[in-house]
């Protein structure tokens, strides 16, 4: 297991280099997972290997408090997560701009990084995700309150086990552990939030992949209007779990996106959507 100290937090990361190398500079993709249930496994076990085989250099990591990364008791404002990503890029990539692929909250981190450090971001692919607006903050607050209420009831865990199986019950317990042992609920939705001016400063191209039945579809229109260069792909009938349930479609969209925006190092076959 590869680890690095990132802003005083032991951080688990996985790097899958492009292979075989094309001899040209490989597109660099950094994958950022979501909150609670999520970990770098969502990317590593779905997109990382196919992308690497298409000639892409892939880096993904466990957010603080998640997966195999350290879980400090405090330090869970959105800005802390953005600082972590910036530091990880400094350590692992250097100053070369990267394509950020963010799942759920991971995309929110990507948008905020693009506002603060636009020179570090070549493009953003957000999956069931939205920038940290006032609307996002209110939604996060509601979601967290509902989640905390639900997790305090053992009957719900029994229901999850019976309905979805022990795997999801275990994921729920892991998410509950993060929520109960840290200040994430109090801190994360505080931002800092992005206003219209900040959103319009995101000049890099954005591909937003959404589930038609997901969390973001209703609010994306307003955000899309504020982002100067945003394309949207909606997957009909899909819930929030776009990445894990539709990863082969996401892979096609992502490889097509890279072929369009960073084709030099891609292998021709792998880049074909």
């Amino acid at each position: 297991m590869a680890v690095a100290i990132v802003n005083d937090v032991l951080t688990h990361y996985e790097h899958m280099p492009a292979r075989p190398s094309t001899g040209r500079t490989a597109p660099k993709v950094v994958c950022v997972h979501g909150l609670g249930y999520d970990s770098l496994a969502s990317f590593y076990l779905t997109l990382a290997a196919p992308l690497a085989e298409a000639g892409v250099d892939v880096l993904t990591y466990d957010l603080r408090g998640h997966g195999r990364s350290q879980r400090p008791a405090t330090g869970y404002r959105l800005g802390d997560f953005v600082d972590d990503l910036r530091s990880l890029l400094d350590m692992m990539v250097g100053t070369e701009p990267v394509h950020l692929v963010g799942n759920s909250f991971g995309g929110t981190i990507a948008f905020s990084l693009a506002v603060r450090y636009p020179e570090r971001v070549r493009s953003i692919v957000s999956i069931e995700s939205e920038p940290a607006t006032e609307v996002w903050s209110a939604k996060m607050g509601r979601t967290f309150r509902n989640t905390v209420d639900a997790m305090s009831d053992e009957a719900n865990l029994a229901w999850i086990t019976e309905t979805f199986g022990s795997h999801y019950a275990r994921l729920t317990r892991a998410a509950a552990a993060v929520i109960r042992s840290t200040t994430i609920v109090e801190e994360v939705a505080d931002g800092p939030l992005l206003d219209e001016q900040a959103l319009s400063s995101i000049r890099c191209p954005v591909l937003a992949i959404l589930g038609g039945e997901g969390f973001q579809c209703d609010d994306l229109g307003a955000v899309e209007a504020m982002l100067p260069d945003c394309r949207t792909e909606v997957i009909d009938g899909q819930n929030h779990s776009v990445l894990v349930e539709r990863h082969q479609l996401v892979r096609k969209l992502l490889l097509g996106w890279l072929a369009e925006h960073d084709p030099v190092g891609l292998l021709a076959d792998g880049a074909r959507p």
Binding site: E14, A41, A49, A174, E245
Partner: protein, 104 residues
């Protein structure tokens, strides 16, 4: 150690047992022998993130020709959750069979 000769299914099962016991650490079930029918998640309690370690240990044992992440990326999430020890054995044996996978 890296050894990429084709193991028998029984030898692969033995090697996978050793890997799973290392990954499970203190969580390994007492007095239960890991068999091919066991589910990695439901029976052994592996988390999805543990599969990354399993993949790395298989690559260390048998060589980088075995790419568990690439194998799992072709599966639906339900199949990954239902993954059994026996599927891992098949992955190792088939993946190392001559002519079935290119050396990476």
């Amino acid at each position: 150690m890296t050894n990429s000769h084709v193991p028998s299914p029984a030898a692969a099962l033995g090697a996978i047992r050793v890997i799973l016991i290392k990954v499970l650490g203190d969580y390994v079930l007492d007095d239960v022998e890991i068999n091919a029918e066991m589910s990695l998640t439901a029976d052994l309690g592996l988390e999805s993130i543990d599969l990354i370690t399993v993949g790395a240990m298989l690559a260390e044992r048998y060589g980088r020709r075995l790419n568990l992440a690439a194998f799992l990326a072709e599966m639906d999430i339900d199949d990954v959750i239902a993954l059994t020890v026996g599927t891992l054995v098949e992955f190792v044996v088939d993946g190392l069979a001559p002519g079935l996978a290119a050396e990476r």
